[in-house]
Symmetry: C3
Subunit: 311 residues, 3 copies
């Protein structure tokens, strides 16, 4: 049973996940119509509270809420009272006084969404908390894989890059293991430390050790500022050991799916010919992100409205 909030894939079971993905599939159709809007959440208030910069995730949620006819209030750290020293809880208490229905939060501190979810009656959707989780990204990744592969049980998925510091990777790992897939991770030592094995994944050292063997290769965005810490000379060096180019892709299964959460560093973790190639499903991920976010808003807020049949 999906509860009041979506905080992480760690909290969902396989049935919950499939139910969300099924709902997302139905909402994907709304965005294919000429009139891309349903009245489901008319009169509901959705707040996007982004304490870290974001464009694509914020726009995706914003559009999801608008296509469901909700009112959207945007709130970002750069213009907020948090700059006047207000605590997150005080900011949230103030939002609460405006009677929102859902707050979508991105915050640099892991656990921030959970704190709000416990304290307030409205639904909280985690749009990324520290290096903990980014569950809507995980769900859109799962939907994209399920579309192409069907049942994910026994499927093999490689995640390549800075897995340790990636909330996307963590949500993917939780989701994939719950749906029965096997996850292999590859990245430089500090990015894929042995502790990761506790999450139920297999550790490899380079992309070459995973590429031949998997149904999906998920390339993570490399944070250039992390390369230094990882003791790698340059992004060119990174590309040599961990980047996915055409040569490596030729050694993969012919039907491998290439995924990336975006934005892409072309020529670093992903060669342009691969990003734009026929095995890439990166833009399907974006489309699915919108559908997943519409589905979650509907599942969390829309059921009482008695208008769900519109979708």
């Amino acid at each position: 049973m999906i509860g009041k909030d979506i905080l992480g894939l760690r909290d969902l079971d396989a049935a919950d996940i499939h139910r969300i993905l099924d709902t997302a599939t139905r909402f994907r159709a709304v965005s294919e119509r000429a009139i891309k809007k349903v009245p489901t959440l008319r009169g509901r208030t959705v707040v996007t509270a982004f304490f870290e910069n974001s464009t694509r995730t914020r726009l995706s949620f914003d559009l999801a809420a608008k296509r469901l006819s909700a009112d959207v209030l945007g709130f970002s750290a750069s213009t907020s009272s948090t700059r006047k020293g207000e605590t997150l809880m005080d900011t949230a208490r103030n939002l609460d006084a405006l009677k929102p229905d859902a707050v979508i939060i991105r915050h640099g501190a892991a656990g921030a969404p959970h704190m709000l979810a416990r304290a307030f009656p409205w639904s909280v959707i985690n749009a990324g908390d520290g290096i903990n989780e980014h569950p809507t990204q995980g769900l859109l990744d799962l939907l994209t894989m399920r579309d192409h592969l069907g049942d994910l049980r026994g499927r093999r998925v490689a995640i390549v890059g800075d897995v340790f510091h990636s909330r996307v990777a963590r949500s993917d790992i939780f989701g994939l293991t719950k749906l029965g897939a096997r996850v292999l991770v590859a990245g430089p030592g500090t990015m894929c430390p042995p502790e990761l094995a506790e999450l139920g994944v297999e550790l490899r050292h380079t992309i070459d050790e995973v590429i031949e063997d998997v149904d999906v290769v998920m390339m993570l965005r490399i944070q250039r500022e992390r390369l230094g810490r990882a003791m790698m000379a340059s992004s060119r060096e990174y590309a040599r050991f961990y980047g996915l180019d055409l040569d490596r892709l030729r050694r993969a299964r012919p039907d491998v799916l290439v995924m990336h959460p975006g934005p892409i560093n072309r020529g670093v973790e992903l060669a342009p010919e691969v990003a734009d190639g026929e095995r890439s499903v990166i833009l399907e991920q974006v489309t699915n992100g919108l559908a997943v976010r519409m589905a979650l808003l509907y599942l969390l807020l829309g059921r009482g409205a008695g208008e769900g049949g519109d979708a």
Copy 2:
């Protein structure tokens, strides 16, 4: 009779104020519903023109307009042509050419909203002008007090802090005296100079001289940059003479109301246990702010629409 604009509480009489508060009380119910929206201002254009940064006031007006189904255009100084040296009047003439119905303005210059109100046919709502007035804050404060105390005639209200530089305090003083309350102010000398007596308030020197004696204590936000000017050693020093903590609160009437316009400096003007304590009505103030802003937009714009019955 409420006119075209809301520029300050100085311009309203007691009957106007009670009428606004009565309307706000009805609109407060809209935000308690599942469908938090009425069609009253459909097709009306409300512009929020904030030449000073704000989050909470801007969000409150934005949501008020959306819950009345108006279209909202956001305009902030940081992205505006004013950075290209355009005068306020030229900016306003350009807005006028877009045929707005109301412009909500916050500006660093006292009198800026009045200038626009005289020059243009649309309604102007003052969201804070210099150190002059912040009438919607004043109205929400009055509504909060009236909810708890009923008739304010003869009630005693203390305003503590930098009263001289506070547009919130000035609007509160105008409103409270019109409704028959007595206002006591307390703050360091430069923050509560003798001239304030001209506004019809009694001056005291410390919070201890007012705390035992009042129905409401309104704590102002201290601007840290003002502390220097006020010749006080630090915010700790300020808290000692002017902050409200549990010890002081125990000396107040047991039914005293603690108010604050937010955002709070916890541990400076207000101890956390007091801000979050049972005498605090700070979050009711925020809820009432939304209701007051809906009421004003309705009273200024909505009467011609013939849909007022919806609220």
Copy 3:
């Protein structure tokens, strides 16, 4: 026939232009009503993607889309993934995955809108690309002139200022010559180089050589940072040779129209008495801008909706 996009006036013929202006005239009436909204584009998604700062053009498009009931997604360079090094094409592919109906783009690179228009199925409206074109400004200028002068064939229009670096001037020149008007340009040498003659305009050297002779004088905004390059001592010097003041205006035809794309540098290219005088139609330009943008969105997106009769 107007196609999928509006990239520049260079691409339109006189019949297209008149059809857009006729449609704009009808939409202008919508903004004069109490209920300033038609349902024409309900459920359509319009993205404003401004990679250069803008207030007035962005607000005008935003309001145009809202008055047509479209959903508007705002996207600006300062908050975008482009700061993470994403290419324009990757940003656009991501927008594409959200299934927008129209993208309104302002970009520092000439040709950026054309690139997107070729690559994607949605409508692109150029809101200014480098020093190439700003077609909606050109159309609003033409509408303003047509309102006052009727048929523009044989009419004489002076454009004064930095014509070479002005995308507004280029769109005006393309539009005016297509409608049969004669265009005279005047400005310092580097701002009006001989190459401009290739666009079909006559070059003059000072405002005094054109002012007596024209039906319209279009004053361009001077970019203060360009004055240095143009070897002029100061903005005062500029005003002396190229500014329009009352003395010069007295030498013009009594029914001359004074135009300016805004924001005005008062006292530089335009004296305040002229900007606010009875020959100025500057604010009509702003009103017409909104109407032109509504017309374009309707013509590009609305025809399939079968609701065009609403306007």
